[in-house]
């Protein structure tokens, strides 16, 4: 590409244009992420309070409260240890469902900042990449806070418990990029996003082995877990958190499945962006 660019023309205006486009071609996605960080800064309070408050409440209620009446052997660990990685994984899903729905709708339609961005040297694919990068960073912040609280509760015995962050990030982005792709296709929100929250996010949380192992569900409900990025992410987080016993091939399946979703969702969102912003 560079070769072709440099041989185009000797006209000074053309040469200036070619030189000026170079930085954005390389760093454009990062510039978009910087924009998003600035927007997120306006709700830092929410991010931090939700990032600490939510885990605190859940860990306490489920792990300390509910655990006293749940008297089952869960892979040989306490209920708190069992449920903590799942709560962490769900937190990433929550961030994904916040950041990949209304802000996307906003950018395309309600306050069409994406249209503004597409008039700059940015390419539509860089807009998508920048958003994914910024959300991944925010998600990581939330996950780290969550992990620290889990450690405070003494609920992650394994020395590689920090690996939960990777598991959570994979799950959050797997669900998030697909959600972003879907939201990007919406010309109008006539309740679809609320439906997603109610009929996708909520059931996913209930049937992904979050509060009980998936195996305790009747077989005809277990498929929800198998396709749910949250289940894969949760199981992976449990492996890191307390050495949850599952065959190694299954752990590989978790990672591969989540990565495939990320790649597919991301590519879908990019494809829609190119089509929608280039009309």
């Amino acid at each position: 590409m560079t070769e072709r660019l440099s041989t185009v023309s000797a006209d000074p205006a053309t040469a200036r244009a070619i030189a000026a486009g170079r930085r954005t071609r390389r760093w454009g996605a990062w510039y978009v992420a910087l924009h998003r960080f600035r927007v997120m800064k306006s709700y830092t309070g929410t991010v931090v309070v939700a990032g600490i408050g939510n885990p605190l409440v859940y860990l306490y209620a489920l792990g300390v409260g509910l655990a006293t009446i749940v008297d089952v052997d869960l892979d040989g660990v306490s209920y708190l240890v069992f449920v903590a990685p799942a709560l962490l994984a769900s937190a990433a899903i929550t961030v994904a469902s916040e950041e990949f729905t209304y802000p996307i709708m906003l950018g395309y339609k309600w306050n069409p900042t994406f249209t503004g961005m597409s008039s700059s040297p940015l390419r539509p694919t860089q807009i998508v990449d920048g958003i994914v990068i910024s959300v991944a960073v925010r998600m990581t912040v939330n996950l780290v806070l969550f992990l620290l609280l889990i450690l405070v509760f003494g609920a992650a015995p394994s020395p590689v418990a920090a690996g939960m962050i990777v598991a959570g990030l994979l799950g959050g982005l797997a669900f998030g990029t697909v959600l972003m792709g879907y939201t990007s296709t919406l010309e109008e929100d006539t309740g679809q996003l609320a439906m997603v929250m109610r009929f996708v996010v909520l059931p996913m949380t209930l049937f992904s082995g979050t509060f009980f192992p998936l195996s305790t569900f009747p077989i005809w409900l277990q498929w929800i877990g198998w396709i749910s990025p949250l289940w894969h992410s949760t199981e992976l987080a449990r492996v890191f958190s307390f050495g949850y016993e599952e065959p190694i091939w299954l752990s590989v399946v978790h990672v591969v499945y989540l990565v495939v979703l990320i790649v597919t969702g991301w590519a879908w969102a990019r494809h829609i962006a190119v089509r929608r912003l280039g009309r």
Partner: protein, 308 residues
Amino acid sequence: MPAPVIVAQDLVKRYGEFAAVDGISFEVAPGESFGLLGPNGAGKSTTMRMVGAVSTRTSGDLAILGLDPDTHGPEIRSQLGVVPQADNLDAELRVRENLLVYGRYFGMPGRLVAKRADELLAFAQLEDKGKAKVDSLSGGMKRRLTIARALINDPRVLLLDEPTTGLDPQARHILWDRLFRLKEQGTTLLLTTHYMDEAEQLCDRLVVVDKGAIMAEGTPAELIRRYSSREVLEVRFGSDRNSEVAERFTGVGDRMEVLPDRVLVYSDDGEAELVRITDAGFRPITSLVRRSSLEDVFLRLTGRSLIE
């Protein structure tokens, strides 16, 4: 002669069967102020989006600064400033922040962007609004901020899509003044408008566009000379009587247009035509003699008025 900044040749944009732009050709020289005049839906905005290297063309040739938008979109856009028809400032950020994030998109270093942002806030007469929320600005201020944003990269070409639509007269005049300054500084302007006075004020040269095609091209004065008369007499006889009365005019003016609300008589001497009409015994409710404008050119070319 310097190479043209924009060259469009048989530019076509189709959405399915519908041709929004249907074979438009024009050239814009550096420093020139070029206008696309036409009613809503004429294909002006679509043309602007193609020139802005955002929307891809269906066919035809297009070069901006000697580059093809299909292959060099980012390079072309790095040299443009774009003021869209609908403001798309980021309402989640403050006024100055909108300039800061936008400047970064051009790969400009943070410190340079900050300096430029302050200069542009002054240029847009928004110095004291830097920390304000975007939504607290008036329509005219938002437009000025959008123009300031479009200038952050010191663009070679400024694209303005109906820059003053929806603004009150005072806000329009402030905006025109700012655009005029840019023009004096040598910025190439490409603007669309459906206001004749705006085109006459700002454009060195323009094309009249209707249904995706160019109807005429020239300077405002040339177009008026070619397609209209020096003066226009407007007479009204009441909505239901205009056409009936006009049919009985004989030997009045060079040409006539009968609109639902008034009759336009084209002539080099409007006053004389009015005398002729009243002498013939017609009693218009109101009468007005004015200079011919681009509105009349448009009416002549398309048989329709610009704003319907």
